[in-house]
Point group: C4
Chain length 222, copies 4
Amino acid sequence: MSTPKAKATRSDPSRAVAFSDAVIAIVITLLVLDLRPPETEPGGLLAGLLDEWPTYLAYAASYLYLAVIWLNHKAAFTRIREMDIGLQWANLGLLATLALVPWPTAVIAETARTGNLTDERVAVALYALVGALLCLAWLVFFAYLARHPDLTKDHVDDSYFARERPRALIGVVLYLAAGLAGFLIHPLVASVIFLVLPVFYAVTSHGIDQGPALLRGRADRD
Amino acid sequence: MSTPKAKATRSDPSRAVAFSDAVIAIVITLLVLDLRPPETEPGGLLAGLLDEWPTYLAYAASYLYLAVIWLNHKAAFTRIREMDIGLQWANLGLLATLALVPWPTAVIAETARTGNLTDERVAVALYALVGALLCLAWLVFFAYLARHPDLTKDHVDDSYFARERPRALIGVVLYLAAGLAGFLIHPLVASVIFLVLPVFYAVTSHGIDQGPALLRGRADRD
Amino acid sequence: MSTPKAKATRSDPSRAVAFSDAVIAIVITLLVLDLRPPETEPGGLLAGLLDEWPTYLAYAASYLYLAVIWLNHKAAFTRIREMDIGLQWANLGLLATLALVPWPTAVIAETARTGNLTDERVAVALYALVGALLCLAWLVFFAYLARHPDLTKDHVDDSYFARERPRALIGVVLYLAAGLAGFLIHPLVASVIFLVLPVFYAVTSHGIDQGPALLRGRADRD
Amino acid sequence: MSTPKAKATRSDPSRAVAFSDAVIAIVITLLVLDLRPPETEPGGLLAGLLDEWPTYLAYAASYLYLAVIWLNHKAAFTRIREMDIGLQWANLGLLATLALVPWPTAVIAETARTGNLTDERVAVALYALVGALLCLAWLVFFAYLARHPDLTKDHVDDSYFARERPRALIGVVLYLAAGLAGFLIHPLVASVIFLVLPVFYAVTSHGIDQGPALLRGRADRD
């Protein structure tokens, strides 16, 4: 019932969105903290900077990944009308796993610096694990919304979030596969996949679902 | 009286909410900064990562704790209509104590790494102290609102915040008890309690008070 | 003229407020980064934690200072209707100086740890300098608003911001005097003044000006 | 067409603005992290602080640069009505490059500390490269808006963003020229240019385009 009391105790998503934006903004900027002046002998700065290329690659891949996450988060929340405690926790689970991303990024950058192959295999496996965990958190988030159509806006197709689930599941599989390939074949293979995956993901996601909110919005307008 | 001047000098809570969200988001993300690449010999990364498990536990417990705090903060502010200077300071006191959480978390993680039992006892006592301080800050916050019903929204039961006080008081006692148990019995006991407490707290809080805003909102709607 | 074009090119303060809130929230939380696990011998954690008391004092003083700044910032902006480029820069100058606060705080904490009296004198002088700079930034901010009454809301007394200027000027003098006292007499004198000053400031400010927005709002309502 | 569905799938810029504000606020505050207590012998704090002057200069220059960027970002977004996925990525590219600024700032500060001339040349070249990259990101952003007039507000002149492009291009050239001058002549030359450039940029930008939103808003009002 929409009595004044009920209205006040319902939770519109605005504060959860602001909180999520702040967390994602902090995480994406924390990545930059790994870009530090290299510790080199006097006169060795140029060589030191060039040696850090794996850090730059790891920074670029993680930035791209988090940017895609933010766009997906935004696309999902444009369809959410109100949140219950279950959805709040699904969102907090999402934030917890995405906040982990700078950690395996730093581990990869560190092992690339020292150049031990065993460590590099472990590092890409860790990155793959966190990537898979993050996709799992998305899966939980989408599955919760699919089971609670009353939380989405009226115009949103009830099957929308159900159709998002396979994409999250594919992400879990792909990150684990990339980690396995990096562990068994060569860490560089995994690193390249980590860089390509978000790009591939961002592009294909628009095709499969007839495009995300943003693209479709433009199409609707034309 | 609601003259134009009075309206402008009254303080609606929107900016305090935005500021609190930013502080809590930063604190929850600062925890991640403790997840750093372990300093290991070449080839020892896997063992190094596995050795860090107390850090992961401490990270999980503190994340959970801060997430519950954020949800409670949100539930409280959906009931606040406007803020006076006293409530502003009660809120700033809350933010000051919750911003302390990453510090004992890092101390626990550090002592778990070095493995000295005396230090571990001190570390869990420190965590318990900060946890108790935080519950004390909630107690002040709830007590202030209980004494100033004119600051809450019209539909909010005048006894609502009075009934929140015992919960905060129980938190003070439970954290001190956990710290004492960790100090006298074994630090691991306290660590496990720190992990369980926010879960227990989050779950029971919904039962005792007929559920928080979010759950009740759903019930009202059905 | 209030043509559609003019309206769009005018700048309402909402984005500057959100940006300022984010900066102040980050700065106030950065202070916590100085609270780190002390580097002690195994078994020496308790002594190590107790030795850090000047850090806790410095943290408390700076937190208090920044909290008062945020409340003043909020009180000022409830009176601002729109911003021109000059006011934007005055606000950015304010943010630049308040972002400096964690730096002398860390320097004081560091020198208190090493205990060299000459260094402690320099440290409190540095803190006093930054405190005075910050009050100077407020002076510029208030003076700009006093000269541009068209930027404030209609109901705001034209002399309001003119009357805020002496308070900022007194701050400049008081911080320099505290620094001088700390340098000439003893650093501890300055440290205590730094802790008392924001309290004193927060309390008296309400008296002199018939109270800030928040207190007056309550009075108007009664 | 503006059916309820189309409305929901369109993307208004408010969340992108909040996210950008958070990122820029974090980046501008991260700069302060480089202002740390200098590591000096007991009694050598004053000399240590004075020796750090290049850090202060680098801090001031980067703060100024990021402040100008934020003002330009704000001026651009007051003209944007809605965002498509391309504009989202152009904005995320902008954020990625501006988040890099603290890194060459720290490298310059570090080399100034060690005083090796070869390293200083490399450091200013790196800063110039990041500065040029950032102007390139603006160029992409403005060019995208120039090609998509349907994304801007009705009252915005269709040639507005086309006219912004040369300014961004000049920035690319000026930063590369400053880097080259610093590399060939003396790093100090580049450092001074880096400090002057944002000032010069902020001032002239108002002249060329009949002033930005803020200044013009005041003129329209008079």
